[in-house]
Symmetry: C2
Subunit: 363 residues, 2 copies
């Protein structure tokens, strides 16, 4: 029996995708073997890779002049690959906008590779907001401007791209990739580990502009040079084939079952509003972390009046098969992750539970 | 309908493993969600990770003082991680034994990180053999001795560990890991991307001795420092959860269905002998690449008298559902990869086909 699983990642996947993966597990049609068993250089897998790229291109309107890569190592490896490729050898420093824990972790890797500035840091606000463009400025010598579009731990999200002066904008979109349409031409590079909205753990999607591909020095460790992956069409070495297969199935689901990213975004906003309305209407029983205008559509973070009630909330939610609601261990409280694949019924069930729980436990 | 799939990797997996993954695809028992959807920090996945580690420990008799890690990035990333962690900052150079294409690729990355010696290079023999211990010597200042236990492209395999002087022995066992029992205490580190014998593409198993874990400098990119992965128990970041789940199922299959690595090795040797006997008994119709005593038990490489016959062989083999037999594009000819999970019946079918084909096409 399947729960409503609010895990922050790895996270719920679309049921039709899981059902198809299950049906094809022993034998991919036409391949004579499981997708787990076939050569990455054979026609059946090459077709999957091409389909995944094309479907992402269609979903996001990726323009010419960008490459789509499927890499391993998660966002953590990108934290290093970005400055190793894009900062080393540049005359100016990189600029990092810090809006939460993941941006700070990326910054900690970047400083190993070169000079880094922090035009804006949300620390004084306990990372409860994103900056307005007028809150900071970017030097004309910037190698790139880096930001984290959605901070899963704090539940804080950029709803529009931040200003980057004239510098390339680099985005860690790990936890909100594919949740809304994007104008990719505004980005120098955008990447996402897949295990929130786009697939299972084990693959990271990188969309990078051609001129930035060329920035990496040949002396870089081979796997860490974007150019090697571009030249090899994500086959510089054996790619995570099954994870890419699932990314393709999820992209197909978004295109065909959901109807594209405009429709997906509308649903995502409606799902988030259901929970934020409960928080806002609870007379302070539920306390959200993020400022209203910076609230995440993906990760709804909130606390209860005390730890005793939080324990009770968690236990009763589990009984109703509403699971993985605990906040990140660094901040406590609760976090309802309601990515693309969380069905509306799951959010309705959580909303109703939250309302009932508040009613029964409010002083 | 499933073929007999002789792919060099990703490669055939045990059918009972695929069947169990299929049965549990929508809901892992007790987890309320697919293994693809659950948090890596929740109890169900933590139990899988622990089980995978314990089962590998039991299979290989991994002694205390070694850590077992599950990483991403494949062998290519290890080609860089090994010298970045184990060569940088050492007084002496590293020694690389070159017995084929993968060793050479590892060497090309190592020279980016420090001084590297090549005590033995099989180039003059077209990489058809491994060295005897008396063929080379290792300086007493060696930071480590690196070798590739099985070269998949050439079909050349070390059947025993090479001499390393007193230096730590580092092994890329990507294509023969778990094919026979090993004395892990002879190794400083042994690693394998999983997609041959141990799992699907997307996870690399690293077994590393505690003292070597400490060699990496703190200034290394975070993901590339073994110590971070040891400290995080393979959870420095989100691990490739589904791939680790399959590694665990495969380790269970080896322990319970096969009866351990002694039994597996016996079967592997019998399977390989069937094909090498056909080659040796073909009056030169089939020409093996490797010297007899260095032949791979995993990858049987051979050529036919001319390209026309090779095309015909490939076409007729495909008709009999014997697939992915083509040799690596860099060397041509054929390569029958007969990893642990290739059933004996598959090898019998290939043997019979090879015998018939030779009979009908021999001048």
């Amino acid at each position: 029996m399947r729960d409503y699983n609010f895990s922050a990642g790895p996270a719920v996947l679309p049921l039709p995708v899981l059902e198809r993966a299950q049906a094809e597990m022993l034998c991919l049609p036409g391949a004579g073997a499981s997708v787990l068993e076939i050569s990455h250089r054979g026609k059946p897998f090459m077709a999957i890779l091409e389909s995944a790229k094309q479907n992402l291109k269609e979903l996001l309107g990726i323009p010419d002049g960008y490459q789509t890569l499927f890499l391993q190592g998660g966002s953590r490896l990108q934290f290093s690959m970005v400055p190793m490729n894009l900062l080393r050898g540049q005359t100016g420093p990189a600029d990092y906008l810090l809006t939460g824990a993941w941006g700070k972790a990326a910054y900690a890797e970047a400083v190993k590779e070169g000079e880094v500035r922090v035009p804006w840091d949300g620390k004084q606000f306990s990372y409860d907001r994103t900056p307005a463009d007028s809150d900071y400025s970017i030097g004309s010598d910037s190698a790139y401007v880096y930001f984290t579009s959605n901070e899963t731990i704090e539940g804080v999200q950029f709803h529009e791209e931040p200003a980057a002066g004239g510098a390339p904008l680099i985005c860690d979109a790990s936890s909100d990739f594919l949740h809304r349409p994007l104008d990719i031409s505004r980005y120098g590079m955008i990447y996402a580990c897949a295990q929130k909205n786009a697939g299972p753990a084990g693959v990271t999607i990188v969309i990078i502009r051609d001129d930035l591909v060329e920035r990496g020095a040949k002396s870089l460790p081979g796997y860490l040079n974007y150019k090697n992956h571009v030249d090899g069409d994500s086959m510089y070495n054996t790619p995570p084939t099954f994870a890419i297969y699932l990314v393709d199935l999820i992209a197909q689901w978004l295109l065909k079952d959901i109807g594209g990213l405009d429709a997906m975004y509308k649903t995502n906003q409606e799902k988030a509003k259901m929970l934020y309305d409960v928080i806002d209407g609870s007379n302070g029983f539920y306390q959200g972390h993020a400022q209203r205008e910076c609230r995440s559509v993906m990760n709804v973070t909130f606390r209860l009046p005390n730890e005793e009630l939080e324990k009770k909330f968690n236990a009763e939610a589990s009984q109703q098969r509403l699971t993985s609601l605990k906040g990140h261990r660094s901040v406590g409280g609760f976090r309802a992750s309601i990515y693309n694949a969380m069905p509306r019924e799951g959010v309705v069930a959580l909303r109703d539970f939250m309302q009932d729980f508040a009613k029964q436990n409010q002083a």
